[in-house]
Structure formats: C-alpha cells, structure tokens
Subunit: 194 residues, 4 copies
DNA sequence: TATTAAACGAGACGGTACGTCGGGTCTTCGG
DNA sequence: CCGAAGACCCGACGTACCGTCTCGTTTAATA
C-alpha cells in the first residue's frame, strides 16, 4: 500500500519545473488542450510525480497560479485615507488584471474547474477569494471608522456590489470592461454606501 | 468535400432524441463525464448524426438547454406597475433558478464551455443573455416612465448591479444565496436608482 | 418488399459510369482504399444504384475487369500448328499481363476477394478461369492430335504445370518473372509432355 | 514526438495474449470481420498496445501464425535417402496443411494482406517462404549428390513445378487437391528431373 | 401523348471500426 | 524511497464507410 508521499523528500526541482511548465502552457494553449502529459513532458518529469503531489490538473493549475502572484488583485489594498480613491484603484486594477494575458488564462481555467470540482472550488475560495474579500472588508471598515461610509453598511453586500458586476461581465464575455465602467460602478455603489 | 448538410432532410426524431438524451445525462452525470458517445448511445443515434449538426459538445448542451426553457428567468418579466415588487420577483426567481437541479447542471456546463469556446460564448450571449438583459432593461425603462426610478438612471449599470452579485456568488460557490440576500441586494440597488 | 430490380429499366449510363469509375480508381488507389462511396461519387451515381445491381464491392470490380478485357490472356489461344511456339506465346503473354499495370491491380483485387468470398470465387472460376483453362486444354488436345504431345498426357496436370508456377510466383511476389523464366518453364513441361 | 517504444519493457503477457486472441479469432471469424478492436477486447488489452508493437493488422496475424508453427510445412524436410518418397511426403503434407482448418485461415489471411502490403509481403517471403524454399532446395541438392536427380537440374524451377500447381489450385479454389493429385504431380516433375 | 411506376441522384441515418490522444496506474531502473 | 521514464488498460475522440432508408426527379414502358 503506498500511503501518502513523504513531503520531506520531495524534489523542489521537480515541483517548480512542473509549475513553470504549467504556467508556460497555460499561456500557449487553450485550456482544453492542456494535458497532464504535456505538463510532464515540458517539465521533464514523470507523470507519476505530478499525480503523487496533486489530485487533479486543476490543482496543479491552481498552484501554478498562486506561484505567479497571490491572485488577481493581490491580498493587500492601499489605505490612503481616501476610500473613494482606494476603491477606484481596486476596481480599475481588477479589470486590468482580468484582461492581462498573464492572468486571464489562469482565471478562465479556474472558472472551468470550479464549476466541476467542488474540492477545488473550496480551495480557491479559501486561498484566493476569502483573503481578497477580507482585505476589501477591512478597507471598508476603515472607511466607516473614518466617517467616510455609513456605519450600518452591509459590508458583504457592498463588496458583492463592487466586485460582482465586473466578474459577471468578465465571466460571460459581456465586454465593456474599462476604467470608465469601473468609475461608474464605483459611483453607484458609493451612492448607497455613504 | 462534403459541404454543409441539407437541413430539409434532417430527422426530427434524431434531433429531439439527441437533445432529450443530453438533458437526461446532464442531470445524471457530472459534466466532465458527459461524452458525445454517451449521448449518441442514449439517443440511439450514430455519432456522425451529432457531428453533422453540432460543432461541439457544448453546442449540443446549449441547444438541449434552450429546448428545456428559454433560460434561467425566461425572456419575460412581469410588469405589475410596482417596480420594487417586480424586481424582487426577478431576483428571487434568478436565485431559485440557479439552485434548481434541472437548471444548475446546464448553467454550470455553459459556464465551463463559455470560458473555452468564444463562438459558443457569442451564441450564449445572443440567444440567452441579450434577451434577458433586454427584458430587464425594458422593465426599468417602464419604471422610469412611471416615475418610480430616476430618469437619468444608467440602465446597463443598474442591470449589472442587480444581476452581477448573484451570478458572481453562484459561479464561485460563495453561498448565501437566498431570498434574504435577494431582498437586501434589491434594497441597495433601489437606493441608488430612485 | 422491394423484390428484384427490373433489369429492363436499368440505366446503361449509370452502369458504365460505375464500371469506368471503378477502373479508374483501381488504377489510382491501393485496393484497400477503394470504397463503394468513392466509386459512387466518381461515377456521379447514388450508392443505392450500386447496391441495387451488385452484391459486393468485389462483384463490381470483377465486372469492371471483365469490361476491360476478358481476362489475363483472353479466352482465345493461337493455333499455329506449332505447340511449343503457341505455348511460349501463352506463357510469355501471361507474365506480361500479370505485370501490366492496367491488369495487375484488378487481379490483385480479385485475389483478395476470392480468399474471402466464395461466391465471388465461384464466379471468377466460371467466367474467367474455366474459359482460360478450356482454351488451353483444347490447344493441348490439338497438339496430341498433331502428334506433338503424348497421347496419354494428363491435360489438367500439364495445364497446372504451365500456369501454376507463374501464378504462384506472382501472387507471392517471388519475382523473377520474365521471358527467360517462361521459356525455361515451357521446356521443363514439354520434356514431360512429349 | 514519441519515438520507438522500448522493447525491453514490453509486456510479455500482453504480447502473448494478443497473439492467442488473434489465433482464436482467425479460427472463429471470416478474415474480413477480424478487427484490431476485437483482438484487443479478446486479449484484454488496450488498442494502443497493439498499435505500439505492430504496424498493421496483417503484421499481427503474421506473428500469430509464426507463433503457431513455423509455416505450412515447417522448415524441415526429411531425408530418408529416397528422394521420391521424401518429396511425396512434402507434397501430400503441403496439401494437408493447406486444407487443415488451423492453417487455412491464416494462409488465406496472409494471401489477402500480401496482395495489398508489400512490406508484409517481403516479411512473409523472408520469414516463411525463403526458409521453406531453401529446405526443399537442400533436399534436391542431396538428391543430385545421391545420383537420384539430374546433376544439371534447375533447382528453382523444379521447386516451382512442385509447389506452384498446388498453391495455384488452392489460392484460386480450383479444387481437386488430394493425395492422388500430389502423386501425379510428383511423377510428372520426377520425369523431368531424373 | 399522357400516365405511372421504376430507377435514379442525393444524402441522412444507425452502426462498426479506425487510428490517436490522454487519463490514471503500474513497473523498472538510477540516484 | 523519490523521481524519470514510459508501458499498460481504458474511454473517448472525430473520421471514414458500411449498407439501408427516404426523398424528390428523371425516364421509359404502357395505356
């Protein structure tokens, strides 16, 4: 019986070669053409070495994405004291990230996998979505402290109002995602939040 | 060179058997396990008959979904004269549809395909998304006429504020999608729209 | 129930187009690539028109071959009065025919089909092989009459000795089939036959 | 690019299962119905495992035939000192082999493939035909040494005279292949050879 | 000459098998 | 024991043809 692999003996060389190969292939191929076999070949690694450490292709892609950065916006969010300016940066930055080729491929891939693999969905929420949401929530709370937002503001809902429309347009390919959209969205949400 | 098939001679029996089989299998299997081969076998049809009329599995699934109904909310939207009540129905109904087993499988499948197939994405937008958005826009315009909404309202943005957060939560599995969420979302948007 | 087709109403145009197309394709393609579909397309004919009049691809090919000539040597055989000269012509002519591109493709095809389809084998024997053998037998009998061959000669066996080695070498690709071989073979057989 | 497979790591279990399955199916089915798919299924093997090691169905069948025995007559030939007796055994044995169900299916299949695949034809000649012909030639040479045959005998031609008529009758289904035919043939050839 | 039943061209259909790709497992060898 | 290599069993892909079955449309015998 194999039992779990011994993480101590894990080859760092293999691990990073796999993630690098995955990143390259995500940028070169449509996601449907990305195969474990291709990753292994590109990384100069046996397939078993991938299967030993990751449960699915989506998990490899997820790790490769994490290796690149810590998500579409990064976990941090500036606090200049001006809530409107900071959120503008957030929304414009989100749109820019979703459009950037280095990121879009990864995110589309994650969208695909999340619809089909609830374990991976949970992982995505814990490792990427929750930190991002927490960071924004923190900034909104600071805005309340600073008297720039209503004290009784529903933070979760405000967050959804800021992020949801952008994700919705992006994921369905609706288009019209530019700075002007970000600004208009921000003004609409600020109108309810002050 | 084969050229395009002659649609006049198409077998209605085969067409509807294929869509019915697809619908059944979408409900029985995880989408990743749905194969053209399985659809053909269940429908009692040769694979070629599927490939003759649809360019991809996603296109078959899309047609099967259309055959079931005309989308998550249907193209129509009530107009009782009370914009708040009508939109409440819309949002609650959207959430209910996204959760209903008969619909969720189809929509997850479409989300998967849209990320990977831009032709299918365009089809989805034209045949499902645009009608839905047009219907809501019409209702908002009527609300403006009735003096229940601000005349200078940005309709597209308002639409995104209503629909985006729900789609966003659903597609990423964030949870918390219930009538209370729908109502809170509606109140927030109405606050900006009146 | 369809019943047998009415041969009177048969389209001569279709019949000859099919046989011509078959002959062309036999010359252009390896036999394994020759399909009924290709024949029908080349002939500008519906597949059903082929299936209506021939039971199998082999039968079409057989008819196409008959249409070209009446076999590798033709049913006739000269009788100059000199049995050795006449048989030399026969053997040299057989080898020439088996090597001629216009004939070889057909004969290889028939060899293939005869191994697998006993009905077609019977047809081949009756329509091609038997006449050929009868013609040679007649000539041998004339040779006996003329006192050039032993009166107690086993005609069937002599025939096999003349024809068998050539067919054997040709069908197995042994090579060495030329006029010199024909002549040597003839001398050997004549030695037993006089 | 895959490159050639590594023969060292080849599974003997799979190899012999494939050849056994092929032998069984050759005996059960007409050759036209024998598919790679059926062989793989019967052998409990993936199709790729067949395609990895053999270039064509004919090549598999050929190897399966070799696995059974070393050809229609076997490479050896007795030398009792009596050339006539030994050749009688050869011819009668050839006819028996060609008629034996366990062999006939294989040989018909090889005849079919050889007409269409020159690589396989070459293989057949090298591995089966040449050894058989060499063995007979050796025996004839011994007969010359023993003074039972003419010293100036054309060995290749004599060989063709012995074997050709039988192969010819068999391959075209002429019939009449029995011990009497073998004996008559032998006497005719011996008449030229002594 | 008009009628009419068939053969015809076209090609969609339910199937079988093709040869290929990739998934996930297993085995062998080297470090 | 991990890792590389890659063979293995398997399921599915998308394609080619099979032989059957409609469809209109000629077309030729007969009424």
């Amino acid at each position: 019986m194999p039992g779990p692999p011994n993480a101590v003996r894990r080859s760092e060389r293999a691990r990073s070669a796999i993630l690098t190969a995955t990143t390259e292939l995500i940028h070169e191929l449509p996601y449907a053409k990305l195969s474990i076999e291709a990753i292994a070949a590109r990384a100069g690694v046996g397939k078993q070495t991938i299967y030993r450490w990751w449960p699915s292709k989506g998990a490899v892609v997820f790790d490769a994405m994490l290796e690149q950065d810590s998500g579409p916006d990064g976990p941090g969010l500036p606090d200049t004291g001006d809530i409107r300016a900071d959120l503008r940066l957030l929304l414009r930055g989100s749109i820019a990230a979703l459009t950037e080729p280095g990121v879009e491929g990864f995110l589309r891939a994650m969208y695909v996998e999340i619809q089909q693999d609830s374990d991976l969905g949970e992982l995505y929420r814990e490792r990427l979505l929750r930190p991002q949401r927490t960071a924004i929530t923190r900034r909104l709370e600071a805005g309340i402290q600073a008297g720039q937002l209503r004290p009784d503001l529903d933070l979760e809902l405000t967050l959804d109002l800021l992020v949801g429309p952008i994700q919705y347009r992006w994921s369905l390919g609706v288009g019209g995602l530019d700075d002007a959209y970000a600004d208009a969205l921000l003004e609409a949400v600020m109108a309810t939040a002050m």
